[in-house]
Symmetry: C2
Subunit: 320 residues, 2 copies
């Protein structure tokens, strides 16, 4: 099948949603055109602001995403959304309902929403998501929102590749905050206490503030993670949140951290692609047979797995 990759990129940049969708499918499916697409996108990337949004289930992530879309649209910004559905065997169901809220925006040509679902390994998402992000960036979206359900570390890894990472919490999740403090502190640039009209919102803000004060480092100029209260269902606090996001963006630029974060994102991306390529060689033609032979010996207790791995690498001349 022949695909006019350059034509698709030009169409996507001209604002045609179908071309954007097609390009994401090409990078998502690991089609033979993946590399051609990546090469064609490359000169056009680096302009979009990338926002990550995560938090425990039930906190109102999709509603908050929807609220943010409206807020950015009010400023006449084009918004792309990647909604990551890990399709865990045990968490797959509840998400579909939430996603419906996002459909409010589907008739707006300046909004593009894509649900990135995977059956099985998050590894697939970990490589497909950055490529999809590059598509939206190259297509000229001003803001790209990456939203994950945030049930596990892998999802947090994905979302923490953003320029600015927003962690959502809600009242009555105090125990979760206690348990999670280390992990959340590491990835959050902005905290949102959603459902702020409910009982316990003040306590959640206090808990968060305490947690932040404990985690603060004394060295170097450090960003003070703000806590924004929102009621996403009524868009209450939307402007405060956008202001906090802008403030963080300005801070990143002023401290040279935006370039640093983006270089880190590129570093992980390149590393992940290289590792996957090497993995494919190890278990591919030739490598697969060697691996089977070694695995049988390991299972029989004739060989330990580390020696087997050395042999596998050596046999395929992956030495330095």
């Amino acid at each position: 099948m022949s695909v006019d990759v350059d034509g698709l990129v030009a169409e996507a940049r001209a604002g045609r949603a179908r071309a954007v969708a097609r390009l994401i499918s090409l990078v998502e499916d690991e089609s033979p055109h993946l590399r051609a697409v990546a090469a064609a996108l490359s000169p056009h990337v680096g302009r979009a602001r990338v926002l990550g949004l995560t938090g425990p289930p039930g906190v109102g992530k999709s509603t908050s995403t929807s609220m943010l879309i409206s807020a950015f649209r009010a400023r006449d910004l084009r918004v792309g959304v990647l909604a990551i559905d890990p399709s865990s065997p045990f968490s797959g169901g509840a998400l579909l309902g939430d996603r419906i809220r996002l459909h409010d925006h589907t008739t707006d040509p300046a909004v593009f929403i894509r649900s990135m679902a995977t059956r099985g390994h998050l590894g697939g998402l970990a490589t497909a998501t950055p490529q999809a992000l590059r598509v939206l960036d190259a297509a000229g979206f001003d803001v790209v929102l990456v939203e994950t359900v945030g049930v596990g570390q892998s999802e947090v890894d994905i979302v923490s590749l953003a320029d600015t990472t927003v962690v959502l919490l809600a009242p009555g999740m105090g125990d979760g905050i206690q348990a999670a403090k280390a992990g959340i502190l590491e990835v959050a640039d902005v905290f949102v206490v959603n459902k702020a009209d409910r009982d316990g919102a003040d306590q959640t803000v206090r808990d968060l503030r305490h947690m932040i004060s404990l985690g603060r480092r004394e060295t170097g100029p450090s960003w003070r993670q703000p806590i924004v209260r929102t009621v996403a269902t009524t868009s209450q606090g939307a402007d405060d949140l956008v202001s906090a996001l802008d403030a963080h963006h300005d801070w990143l630029v002023a401290h040279g951290d935006l370039a640093r974060r983006r270089a880190t994102r590129a570093r992980r991306e390149v590393e992940a692609i290289a590792v996957r390529e090497l993995r494919a060689r190890l278990s591919g033609v030739g490598g697969g047979e060697t691996l089977d032979r070694l695995a049988t010996r390991v299972a029989a207790g004739e060989l330990d797995p580390f020696t087997a791995a050395d042999e596998l690498i050596g046999e395929h001349r992956y030495q330095r």
Copy 2:
């Protein structure tokens, strides 16, 4: 620091819990002795029956593990338990309380329980867990139970490395079952409906049975996944569960599938170690500088990430 690895393995095989714990720490911490430990264990592995236990949060996994420990002890079998805590930023807290139930068994020298926790990447667990499993196997435990909280695909991957995988459900989680059917069908050898004294247990069993009938393949001899009802808090159904586990074990042996599963487990283990080694080389001394240089160019849009990955691999002579 000098470690007498052979001495530790001999002590572990003589039933000393401290030596078992020390060996697991050595493989968990990626100590310089990791390879020596793996080599020393190798001749002694392959005897233990490995059971995996997973299911959604709140289903009673720790109570069920405790019930199974008692049932195996009543048959005079030695039992090792690896309780996997992914320490996700958002799911870390609730587990600790559950674990307390397992402490009923801590005074029994024929029972060894180890909580495998990781801050951050499940990748660490994915490599440490098989090694810890080898320690318990080599130490002569008749049964090794690997229990995970089962919130994500990665945890399911870990537990599905078992000879027999048990998936627990509970009444009133019908929506979860619907959503999860594909994922659960793939990994489960035995289903348990725990809390079977509660309303809705019959419905959960019916839903499961329907799901199993839809997923059944027509080709080849296939194992009929049994559904066992239990009330783990009172050990009701424990004997039925052990019988189902025995039946599956016998079936695996009769069909040559036990050896096949264990070879698959060894294959994944060797592959994971090899990939990690290659990853370390890519981002290690020399490789790290190349990667940084390439990443900066990718971030600047001068290079696409796939070409960068090719250069990274090429520069370090990982070619075939």
